[in-house]
Each structure stands twice: as structure tokens, then as C-alpha cells.
């Protein structure tokens, strides 16, 4: 398990990770669980973290991978549902109590448009524009080349502009 210094450094990014988790899950209890799971994994595998590299990017990478793992699991479960309709309200973590009132509401068109973006577009925008991460760090989180990140940012913004135009009509 991680030592106290590592825990302290890692917890400095708690708010940023929680914000990211909220945009991924759209649900506060799920975001709580996702962030907690991320930190537990980070503490457990802290020996694998290379000192001198970017801790923030490493933590975001763990969070995204954790999300995708559960997201894909839920997607697969939804795919075999009897009615064939994905149930997106199903809690991502099995021990999360289902609370319909806890789902996050979108307050602005921009937020609403962000929600409708595919995860890979939403993530690059959140990391690059909202968190202000350099493209190299975003590439590390997304586990893809920098060129791909640039391309995704461009396409994400294009898609976002289209959605915002639709809302103005």
C-alpha cells in the first residue's frame, strides 16, 4: 500500500478527478464510487508509478480505465437484456444503491451538448480544455498518439458546435 507522501500527493487531485468522474458517470454516487475505486487502485499499485512522471495523468488514466471496465461490463449486460434496450440507469457499481433522484441535471446547453458526445470526445475536451492538460498528458490518459488526440479534439468541437446550433433553433 502507498506511503503517506504518495497518498497526500494523490489526494491533491481529488476535485479534478471527481469532476471528471461526474462528467463520465452523470451520477454523484457513481462518481463517488468511481473516484474511491480509482484511489484504492492507485494506492495498491503505487509501486508501479514512476516517480518524476505526471501523477495527475496517471490517476486520470486509472479512473478512465476503471470507468471503461465497468461501463463495458454494463454495456454487455444491457446487450443481453430481454427487451434489448440498454438500461443506462443501472448503477455502474453493483453495490451502488439505485437512486433516481441523484442523476445529474444539465443546466446549460453547453453541458447538455457535452453529455451527448461520445465518451472519447467528451474525455479529450474535459482533459485538454477544462483541466488544461498538455496534449502529451491527454495522450497518455487516452493511451493513444498525440496526433490522435488533436484529431479527436477537432472532431469533438465540430460535433459540439453542431449540437449547440441545434439547441439555438
Amino acid at each position: 500500500m502507498a506511503d503517506a507522501d504518495f497518498q497526500r500527493d494523490a489526494l491533491q487531485h481529488l476535485n479534478a478527478l471527481y469532476n471528471f468522474a461526474m462528467y463520465l458517470t452523470r451520477n454523484p454516487p457513481e462518481a463517488d464510487d468511481l473516484v474511491q475505486e480509482t484511489y484504492l487502485r492507485a494506492f495498491r499499485f503505487s509501486h508501479r508509478f514512476q516517480t518524476g512522471t505526471h501523477l495527475r495523468a496517471w490517476l486520470f488514466q486509472i479512473l478512465r480505465n476503471t470507468f471503461l471496465t465497468f461501463y463495458r461490463l454494463r454495456e454487455r449486460e444491457a446487450a443481453i437484456a430481454e427487451d434489448g434496450v440498454p438500461d443506462w440507469d443501472t448503477p455502474m457499481f453493483h453495490d451502488t444503491p439505485q437512486d433516481e433522484g441523484s442523476a445529474m441535471e444539465a443546466h446549460t446547453d453547453l453541458e447538455r451538448a457535452m453529455r451527448r458526445l461520445p465518451e472519447e470526445f467528451r474525455t479529450v475536451l474535459l482533459l485538454a480544455e477544462v483541466e488544461g492538460m498538455p496534449l502529451e498528458e491527454v495522450a497518455r490518459v487516452m493511451e493513444c498518439p498525440v496526433g490522435t488526440v488533436k484529431s479527436r479534439i477537432f472532431r469533438a468541437k465540430e460535433r459540439l458546435r453542431g449540437l449547440l446550433k441545434d439547441y439555438k433553433k
Binding site: N15, E111, A128, E129, V130, R161
Partner: protein, 237 residues
């Protein structure tokens, strides 16, 4: 709409990026989440006392060593020679009880053969009567010694086994001796069986049965008298 220097064009990538940074609401982690994370992380380090790991390691090493030694250590055997002999005799009786004799010989017709094989001669032998029927006689090998076993069966179906072995250093224990008529054999119990133990010159003699109850024991005394008075074993060589 006029754009001033430094302003980006509306809907340009740069402008959209700034809008995202400025207008998207930021969600702050609840204070309870930080506490929950620290609590979840803590037990693994705090719950386990420092001395537990070395203790578990040493216990595991000791267990492995003990398991290894179990295969090397000799089996626990009775230290008393009489108890050792009785245990061997009872085992032979149990074997005969379950699977019968390896080869049945008829007394006295086969006595010379038995003597040659067992090293025990019988100048006279109890060949059975109305209450105790002769079943078989055979050579045996117990505690690295050749000997002789004669099996009888009583009217109730009890198997009674007479065994004679070279006595060597056998001393019949005084504490277990029972006066029967003019004899004083020792009565020794083992594994649910009971045995009369006595010595005739250089031969150790045993009469084994499962007649352990008080009533059975009286009859077993009678069987002893019958065998003892009629059987004279000697070392053949």
C-alpha cells in the same frame, strides 16, 4: 458584432475551448469522499500489527518443518516389550479374524512341518474339544521373529488365537497377573482385545480373543486353562 484584439471568433475552436473552461460547471468532491478514501486505504496498513507478519512467517516455517519431520520420525510404539508383543499378537489375531489363516495345517499331522517353519516345537498341543474347536495352525513372523499361531473357535463364534514366540527378554508384568488355578498369567488389553500372557521356559505364549466383558472373561480363563495344561511349546533350535 466586432471582435477586439485578443478576442477569438465566436464558434472558433479557441472560443469554444474557452467557453468549456469557463462555463462548464465544476463539481467538487464531497468532504466525506476524502474521508472514505483514507479509511478504505488505512486498514491494510493499520489493521495488521507489525509483529503479525514475522509471527505468521515463523509459524508457517515451523509447520513446514513439522510436516517434514513427521515423515522422518519413527512411529510411536509402546516402549514396554510386553505391550509391543501384545500389540503384534493382537494384529495377527485381527488379521486371522478378518481374512482367515494363510494356510491351515492340521495338528498333530503337520507338526513336524510347523516346527521346521516356525522354530517352535510342540511336544503336546491342545487340539480342541466340545467348547473350543480347532480351526488351523500356521507359522507367523512377528517383531522380526518366527513363531507359531493356532486358531480356535468357541461355540459362540469367538475366535481364540494361541501364539508362541521366542521369549528372549520377555518379563511377564507382575502388576497384571491374575491367579487362575495354579497359574498366574498376565492379562493385557489392547485395541479392544484381551490377551493372556505367560512364559513357558524360553517361549512367550499368548492367548488372544475379543472376550473383554466380565462374563466372557470367565470363559476366557477357562480357555486359558485348557490350552495351558495341554500345550507344551519349546524352542526347536
Amino acid at each position: 458584432m466586432t471582435s477586439t484584439p485578443g478576442d477569438s471568433i465566436p464558434d472558433s475552436d479557441e472560443h469554444l475551448g474557452r467557453r468549456l473552461a469557463a462555463e462548464l460547471p465544476r463539481y467538487t468532491a464531497p468532504a466525506s469522499l476524502r474521508v472514505a478514501i483514507l479509511q478504505a486505504a488505512e486498514p491494510a496498513t493499520a489493521r495488521r500489527p507489525a509483529w503479525l507478519s514475522p509471527l505468521l512467517a515463523s509459524a508457517a516455517t515451523a509447520m513446514v518443518f513439522a510436516m517434514f519431520m513427521l515423515t522422518v520420525l519413527p512411529r510411536v510404539q509402546p516402549t514396554d516389550p510386553v505391550d509391543q508383543m501384545v500389540r503384534a499378537v493382537v494384529s495377527e489375531h485381527s488379521r486371522a479374524l478378518m481374512w482367515g489363516s494363510r494356510q491351515s495345517q492340521v495338528i498333530p499331522a503337520e507338526l513336524p512341518w510347523l516346527q521346521a517353519q516356525s522354530g517352535i516345537g510342540l511336544s503336546s498341543a491342545f487340539v480342541g474339544d466340545d467348547s473350543l474347536t480347532f480351526v488351523s495352525a500356521e507359522p507367523v513372523y512377528l517383531l522380526r521373529q518366527r513363531g507359531l499361531a493356532v486358531h480356535y473357535r468357541d461355540v459362540d463364534g469367538h475366535l481364540v488365537t494361541y501364539i508362541a514366540l521366542p521369549a528372549d527378554e520377555l518379563k511377564v508384568p507382575d502388576r497384571s497377573r491374575v491367579q487362575i488355578d495354579r497359574y498366574r498369567p498376565a492379562l493385557v488389553k489392547d485395541s479392544g482385545f484381551v490377551a493372556w500372557v505367560w512364559r513357558q521356559r524360553d517361549v512367550a505364549c499368548f492367548l488372544v480373543s475379543d472376550m473383554v466383558s466380565a462374563d466372557d472373561l470367565e470363559r476366557f480363563k477357562d480357555y486359558f486353562i485348557r490350552v495351558r495344561t495341554s500345550t507344551e511349546p519349546t524352542l526347536a533350535y
